[in-house]
Symmetry: C2
């Protein structure tokens, strides 16, 4: 049966990418060797890394604007540390919009003073705080653009410089003026590739301003100087990320995928709003186009709904334990058709209920 | 043409592993979903991680002896930092046997005082220093078991506690009393799997003794408490490492592969020693069974040799720039047959020369 993969991450990748990646694991470009058993200094992989770095900047419209792209290891959790290691001298401001922001704050506190600019914690992070003050003199301001667990998304970004953003769960999904950001990082496993690599986009001029010694692996400058090959990179994850970015370019880039993502989100939110059986979790104005969170109204038969979801081949719809209910993650590679299947199941359940 | 892959790393993996890995990338266990697009919290991946952790301890004979196995990201270079973060309070002793030891020393200096116990740097690391003193009161002693670049290998380990060892390039290749070590780490990309994950084996009792705050991603205890899933692990790299460990178990484990590795090493070193055309780089008593380094005698026709090597389908034989010449890396997955092909080329060149 055809599967509809709503997994929150690691999450769906384009079928063409999966097939090409599998080919490369057995025999890369008819070389007679697997991509994962050749030197990362080989011409083949050096080209993959250079292409991936270039393409990420191209997709974001950041070529020739003083930015560097890196493919590192350790996920966003490692970037919580690296951002602070490289940029935090005294005090930074963090917007707290959920579990991951909270973790970013916790880790940064190892390196300096952290000011929580605003938080929606008291409302279980069901909205994005607004109209908060940003004091002068901060080393940087940190935000999380999309909150997978809660299904909220920043539609406006604070005016601050340097501005640091964890875009793990909505990178490459919508057009923004990315030149407003000085540091962007994103674990690959939502919109970009498999788990195991993290895209870091950094404006070089913000580096080199802290007084501490930075160990090499933590130091963005070291990775930039070594063209993202300071040590052996996660070859497979970078390759699959490159394939996924090429797939996105072929589709028409971020502008094209954003339209498709809006169509998908519209369908699911309309389905939620048209029935009293479904209760959206996130505040309407802060809804995420990536992750739609909802619960069933009291008294609804969750068991039947769960069975219908399963029978339709829908995978990964369970909500995170801190919110409960359901979460439809609709990353770039999820076809509109899959959202249609989910909407039909929801409408059918509504008719029955 | 059949390739013979002598790459120093990332390096050869068993063909059966590559094919099974490629299958998993398209459709994992007939689930209709790729392994790289499902949640790391899924039953499928939780089982992979648990099996990989157990199997690594089983292979090393360290089950039920107070050790924990972790599959982390960042390579040995990240472990240079993490080892020091977790164990270095005041002063540690490092044996300097090459570029990677040297890098380990450099990074650890960010966290405390490092005593170089001994070094063979003056001899371009062509041997392993011996008969050096280890003073009392060190937080730990750090050694590198195999030096890929130079082709040297520790055949005896210092008596010290805690003993930390970078086994990146010879893990799972030979039988040792692994319980002598308190911390072992190894980037996967030589004997264990693809680049992108690092095996860490740590004796729990050595942790928790430093006074500094340790950021979560740097903290072995955090990773142990979360069963190596503190954040999204590098799913594919862990899976391929598991497949490779299962392949090794099926072959008879470390004892069996050690015999095969000795056979391969014997053949290549005999070929070097039987001709005046080849000059072994490493001191005989310190020769590595993993990486055999040699140069051609003055006046030998390197171009012809290079062409003969190429014509035979031999890949990755160039030596590292700091040593020059040639390096035959003979990791676990390299068949004896490939070494035979190389030895025949070397003998043929010798007859011609």
């Amino acid at each position: 049966m055809k599967k509809h993969n709503f997994s929150a991450g690691p999450s769906i990748l384009p079928q063409s990418v999966l097939h090409k990646a599998a080919e490369g694991v057995v025999d890369y470009n008819q070389s007679g060797l697997s991509l994962i058993e050749i030197s990362h200094r080989s011409a083949a992989f050096v080209d993959i890394m250079a292409s991936a770095r270039n393409l990420s900047l191209e997709l974001l419209g950041l070529q020739d604007k003083g930015y560097q792209a890196l493919f590192l290891q350790g996920g966003a959790s490692m970037q919580f540390i690296m951002a602070a290691y490289n940029l935090l001298e005294n005090k930074a401001g963090y917007l707290n919009t959920g579990t991951w922001s909270n973790n970013a704050i916790k880790e940064a506190k190892n390196f300096g003073t952290i000011l929580e600019l605003a938080s929606s914690k008291e409302a279980n992070f069901n909205h994005i705080p607004k109209n908060y003050a940003i004091p002068e003199g901060l080393d940087y301001v940190h935000v999380t653009s999309n909150n997978t667990i809660y299904g909220t998304q920043l539609h406006d970004f604070p005016t601050a410089s340097p501005l640091v953003c964890d875009m793990s769960s909505d990178i490459f999904s919508r057009a923004l003026d990315f030149s407003k950001f000085d540091l962007i990082y994103a674990g690959a496993q939502k919109n970009m590739g498999p788990a195991g690599t993290t895209l870091v986009i950094v404006k070089e001029e913000v580096l080199g301003k802290v007084s501490r010694n930075i160990p090499s692996m933590m130091n963005y400058k070291v990775h930039i100087d070594k063209e993202s090959m300071f040590n052996t990179p996660p070859v497979f994850a970078v390759y699959v990320s490159l394939l996924t970015m090429q797939w996105l370019i072929d589709l028409g880039g971020i502008q094209a995928i954003e339209k498709e993502n809006q169509r998908k989100a519209q369908l699911i939110y309309d389905t939620i709003d048209q029935s009293e059986l479904y209760i959206g979790f996130a505040a309407k104005e802060d809804r995420s186009a990536m992750n739609a969170t909802f619960t069933l109204a009291a008294g609804a038969d969750a068991e039947t709904f769960g069975q219908m979801v399963k029978d339709a081949g829908i995978n990964g719809l369970n909500g995170h334990r801190v919110v409960g209910g359901y979460r439809a993650s609709m990353y770039n590679a999820l076809p509109y058709e899959s959202v249609l299947v989910l909407a039909e199941v929801m409408n059918e359940f509504n008719r029955k209920g």
